[in-house]
């Protein structure tokens, strides 16, 4: 379904349910790769400014249907794809993505959108060189999220699915459905499963070992910056730039 990576660049993505710790891991990976002098670009799910203005209004009014929700997230992805991810991969940059097409496959199918239909919609995307799936039991993820967050948002909690009137309960049920979809995709797309309950440092060690393996013998776009830490290649800086 996804295209092979014929570009000079490397595509590394992280996936997992909310609270799986994937963002922490990719952030550490990003800094590590920068320090090592690579040209790195970071892109985050649902971060295209153009689409954001559209989705914001609809989110507020709760007017999404599972299909419009799905297409608009793909529109956001396509905007980032056409304007940054693909051109940078072609240039030989390491592109890191916090969530990728698998997020859509998991969430949209959890909303009962047709699985083949949503897979076709994202079929323009490239199969990542490494797709790291941070796996945590539902209870652990839910506890992490509810401890860190004052309140949950309507769509994030899957309230549109009418699973429960209680937002916390709805969130739990929805995340459970998403988790089931992720587990199905491990074999389908060759996701690399990482135990998200391990200490952060241990997980990062595993992550770096995997990525090191991928980058061995590979030469990407040179990074002309002498002190790359915190000053990544300006060309590789975009709206999705980390912090």
């Amino acid at each position: 379904m996804l295209k092979p990576n014929n570009t000079k660049g490397k595509l590394i993505i992280v996936e997992g349910i909310d609270g799986s710790g994937k963002s922490t891991q990719i952030d550490l990976l990003y800094k590590w790769l920068q320090s090592a002098g690579y040209s790195v670009y970071f892109s985050e799910w649902n971060s295209s400014e153009l689409v954001k203005s559209t989705t914001k209004a609809a989110k507020k009014a709760h007017t999404f249907t599972p299909t419009t929700f799905s297409i608009l997230h793909c529109t956001d992805f396509a905007d980032r794809w056409e304007n940054s991810i693909l051109p940078l991969l072609k240039a030989g940059v390491i592109v890191l993505a916090d969530r990728y097409v698998f997020t859509a496959f998991a969430r949209d199918v959890a909303r009962n959108v047709d699985p083949q239909w949503v897979r076709n919609m994202y079929s323009f995307a490239i199969k990542p060189d490494a797709a790291l799936y941070f796996s945590v039991p539902l209870d652990v993820a839910v506890e992490r999220i509810t401890a860190a967050r004052a309140s949950l948002k309507y769509y994030e909690a899957g309230m549109d699915l009418n699973l429960s009137n209680d937002i916390n309960e709805s969130f739990k049920l929805f995340q459970g459905k998403i988790l089931a979809e992720y587990d199905k995709m491990v074999d389908e797309f060759g996701l690399i499963k990482i135990d998200g309950t391990l200490p952060v440092k241990d997980q990062q060690k595993k992550v770096r070992a995997i990525i090191k393996n991928i980058l061995t013998g590979w030469e990407g776009l040179p990074n002309p910056n002498e002190k790359p830490i915190g000053v990544s290649n300006p060309q590789a800086q975009g709206k999705g730039e980390k912090k």
């Binding site: 153009l50 559209t54 249907t65 419009t68 396509a78």
Partner: protein
């Protein structure tokens, strides 16, 4: 009453039992006079006692801001644009067309997704991909295609609202001026429509003629569709 028939999976999460209404699509290029015909058809059908809903491929509230921003200069790639249109289409289909059909309306749709895949296709979007994307679409009961030569479109537009940037496909850099670009662009569109008309069984109407003559030709297949219900002179109410 029939159940809904979709080109693909449709909306699996929705329980749509029956759609007593009829979906009639009017397709055709820019400047061919679709909106004039929609007005005439609407009045005629209402006189016959049908509840009519008309909806256009104008933007829904959902994507208006994004598309406006896109057209006013933000750089949107062809894929992004295509998906924006698809989101808009889905919104109209689910929130306007299907409810109207459920309520038994005759829905006159000023264009459908065929126009969108025609414009996408000449911008390099994969045809199979686009068709699968519109697997959400309901199969219309009737697709009327107002076919006109590029020359007759030019005549109508120049004496009407004029040539504009998007209708001339200026984003494709086919020519350095509106006129030449319009000609080249509409010829490409025409070719796409010929292909689509076979694939999706369009009923083609010669739209190079006066509005009244076109109107009569459009009425014919609609009468057939609504046959017993559209009376020979006798009103159903």
């Amino acid at each position: 009453m029939k159940g809904p028939v979709f080109y693909g999976a449709g909306f699996p999460y929705r329980d749509i039992q029956k759609l007593p209404g009829k979906l009639i699509v009017l397709e055709g290029p820019d400047g061919v006079g679709r909106s004039t015909q929609i007005k005439l058809l609407r009045r005629w059908l209402e006189d016959e006692g049908y509840a009519v809903s008309d909806t256009g491929l104008t933007r829904s509230a959902l994507t208006q801001d994004g598309l406006d921003a896109a057209k006013s200069g933000h750089t949107l790639g062809p894929l992004t644009m295509s998906l924006f249109y698809a989101a808009d289409f889905a919104d109209r289909l689910e929130n306007l067309i299907i409810p109207a059909l459920q309520a038994g309306f005759v829905v006159l749709s000023d264009r459908y997704f065929y126009s969108v895949i025609a414009r996408d296709s000449i911008r390099g979007i994969d045809k199979a991909w686009a068709r699968a994307l519109y697997g959400i679409a309901l199969k219309p009961d009737l697709i009327l295609y107002m076919k006109a030569s590029v020359d007759s479109l030019v005549t109508r537009l120049i004496h009407g609202r004029g040539l504009n940037y998007w209708e001339a496909g200026m984003d494709m850099h086919l020519a350095d001026n509106l006129y030449d670009s319009f000609i080249s662009y509409q010829e490409l569109i025409l070719k796409e429509f010929d292909e689509l008309s076979h694939e999706y069984n369009f009923v083609t109407v010669d739209a190079n003629r006066k509005s009244n003559a076109i109107f009569e030709d459009l009425k014919e297949p609609i009468m057939q569709l609504l046959h017993n219900r559209l009376t020979k002179g006798k009103k159903p109410y």
